[in-house]
């Protein structure tokens, strides 16, 4: 699989968009403009960008507490996304849910989840619906390495394999679960090998190499569309910042942070493109300024939107 120049630019733009959105969110949160708490995935952008570059709009994505990138890369409307995180009534969830629960079914962003591992069983259902109706749509369920230790991981992968469901289980293995390093919660190296327990292919890739992620995801998605069942794709990534924005990371060795930041998926793709003239002369500039504008518009929309409507707190409990 070799990407056309426009595809490469789209993938690059997707990573940059995720990065800039989360940088802005961190800034806004630090300024006290966002209630609650937020988790950013800066440094892990190659996964949402690479995986979502293989998806159609009507494919389903389930994501996590660290899910901004997946929603953005899947093509969620930035304005209503930002408004939700701000807690405004124009947000996708009417301000009822915030950063951990953004959803836009029309973009296939089925919903983020505040329960670690909580999306895995739900992914079985969205994938079953595709199979049930004979549709070619697939489901991608993103989750972390920590989540791979929840009982739901086991129950879900077992059933997905048994029923040959069209799911891509995409694990972002960033070596940390909240404040705890992986060596303290898993004896085995990596998550991909766990696929064998279910008779499911397990693939592990360098998650800061966006093209490696894209190619592995493309293959898994193609398998799923052909009705050949699920794949467990592990992407080895690094968490640049704390568990949540504002986390002082007292528990984390400085050189671990340094090592993480040394792996920049965006820089890697840029330098790769440098050789070709895909980027053109001011290509990066163009991308950055276009995205800057999108984000400015989204933030303005959110900031100018009216606060969440108290009446909405009583609505939609039942259909």
């Amino acid at each position: 699989m070799t990407e056309r120049a426009d595809e490469l630019l789209a993938i690059l733009a997707s990573m940059v968009r995720v990065r800039r959105v989360e940088e802005r969110l961190s800034e806004l949160f630090t300024q006290g403009k966002i209630p609650g708490f937020i988790h950013v995935s800066i440094g892990q952008e190659a996964v949402p960008a690479g995986v979502c570059s293989c998806l159609e709009r009507d494919d389903a994505v389930l994501t996590t507490h660290r899910g901004h990138g997946h929603a953005v890369a899947k093509g969620i409307d930035l304005k209503r996304f930002m408004a939700e995180i701000f807690g405004r009534r124009t947000g996708f969830c009417k301000g009822r849910s915030g950063s951990m629960h953004v959803a836009d079914p029309t973009a296939g962003v089925m919903g983020a989840n505040g329960i670690v591992g909580g999306g895995l069983p739900i992914a079985l259902g969205t994938a079953l619906a595709s199979q049930y109706r004979g549709e070619k749509t697939v489901t991608v369920c993103f989750f972390g390495d920590g989540a791979s230790n929840e009982g739901t991981f086991h129950e879900s992968l077992n059933i997905a394999a048994l029923w040959s469901l069209p799911v891509l289980f995409c694990c972002e293995n960033n070596d940390w679960a909240q404040f705890t390093p992986q060596s303290r919660y898993m004896k085995v190296e990596g998550v991909a090998r766990r696929a064998d327990s279910y008779g499911m292919p397990g693939v592990s890739v360098d998650g800061s190499d966006v093209l490696a992620v894209r190619r592995a995801a493309a293959e898994a998605v193609a398998r799923a569309r052909r009705g050949e069942g699920p794949t467990l794709l592990e992407c080895k990534v690094r968490r640049w910042f704390g568990h949540y924005v504002g986390d002082p990371q007292k528990y984390r060795p400085a050189d671990d942070v340094k090592a993480a930041k040394a792996l920049d998926p965006i820089e890697r793709l840029v330098s790769r493109l440098a050789g070709s003239n895909a980027l053109g002369t001011d290509g990066m500039q163009a991308i950055e300024s276009r995205i800057q504008a999108e984000i400015d518009a989204a933030v303005a929309f959110a900031a100018e939107s009216p606060p969440a409507d108290p009446a909405d707190l009583h609505r939609d409990v039942y259909a």
Binding site: C93, H101, P105, P121, L124, G125, L128, S130, Y132, G151
Partner: protein
């Protein structure tokens, strides 16, 4: 009308709704090949095939997740959790996911999910296979909780639950599966949220549900012989509560007994008593009593002495009749 067993009525409701709506499917343990632990799903696999009757591994959290995700994509799942005691293994998926999807995600989703489970005692199944946990779920916004007492209501309510666009926890009493009652030949529905006056009376109101309806009717008959005329209200639905039906009756009788099989403390009887205390005009201060199980797990051999009985209902009525 024909005499039909409670479990057969449930089986008929499933069959009719699956025939009626192609989006309806069944998922759970032993529901297909085995025809169901209590044979509520008997012959459905043969009739509708592997696609629509899905045996799962023993994975209760996943079973509910499958139903939730499928509903988010437009299907109408009927999940079976074999014993209500095992709902404890699906609590996150039921409470944090299924019940909150519509609200949490902006009201865009409709969640037509039914979770069927066998509750209650009476078969000497012991502490982990006999519980009545409905009060937990009634405390969870986003869920509806249904507990039919008769074959008629079981069929009509299950059909309504399957057509309902909200998550419904459908609690079948395992000691009632073999019970018989009249079920119409023709199709009918019983609306969710409507209590049914199973016996009219003027002296005291007995509010109850599920198997305790039968004990309460037995108690009412015994009381009638002593000149006490009891009204028996079968809630049928625990959430949403049919407050009007309860208030109407208590305003008439000004005496209330709430009877359920669950542990009395923090059971649904408490909500009903508190509700009438708040909602009745100050002029009416009814005498109230609750009947429920003692504060202990459901024992194996002492189950008969443990479970609330008609005699307990009679005693409670007599407590509220004095003065």
């Amino acid at each position: 009308m024909r005499e039909t067993r409670y479990v057969k009525a449930i089986n008929e409701a499933l069959l009719e709704e699956m025939a009626r709506d192609e989006r309806v499917f069944i998922v759970g343990e032993d529901v297909g090949f085995g025809g169901g632990a209590f044979s509520a799903t008997r012959d459905l696999l043969q009739r509708f095939g592997e696609r629509r009757v899905r045996d799962t591994p023993i994975s209760e959290a996943a079973i509910v997740g499958i139903a939730t995700g499928a509903a988010m994509r437009g299907l109408r799942p009927v999940a079976e959790i074999m014993f209500a005691d095992f709902l404890t293994l699906s609590m996150d998926q039921i409470v944090n996911q299924l019940a909150k999807v519509r609200y949490m995600f902006g009201g865009t989703y409709r969640m037509p999910v039914v979770i069927r489970a066998a509750c209650g005692g009476g078969l000497n199944a012991g502490p982990q296979h006999s519980q009545s946990l409905e009060a937990w779920f009634a405390h969870v916004p986003g869920l509806e909780v249904v507990m039919p007492a008769t074959p008629h209501d079981a069929k009509g309510l299950l059909k309504s639950a399957i057509r309902d666009d909200n998550p419904v926890l459908f609690l079948e009493h395992k000691a009632l599966y073999a019970s018989k009652g009249d079920v119409p030949e023709e199709e009918y529905l019983v609306p969710i949220g409507e209590a049914d006056v199973k016996r009219t009376g003027k002296d005291v109101t007995i509010v109850t549900a599920s198997r305790m309806v039968h004990h309460s009717l037995e108690a009412a008959a015994a009381l009638a012989a002593e000149g006490i005329d009891a009204e028996v209200i079968d809630l049928r639905t625990i959430s949403p509560l049919d407050k009007d039906a309860i208030l109407r009756s208590v305003q008439k009788t000004s005496r209330l007994v709430v009877a359920h099989e669950a542990v009395k403390a923090f059971g649904f009887g408490a909500e009903i008593v508190a509700m009438i205390c708040e909602e009745l005009p100050a002029s009416i201060r009814p005498r109230v009593a609750r009947v429920g199980a003692p504060f202990a797990p459901v024992p194996f051999a002492q189950e008969k002495q443990y479970l609330p009985s008609a005699a307990d209902v009679v005693q409670a009525v007599k407590r509220v009749m004095v003065s």
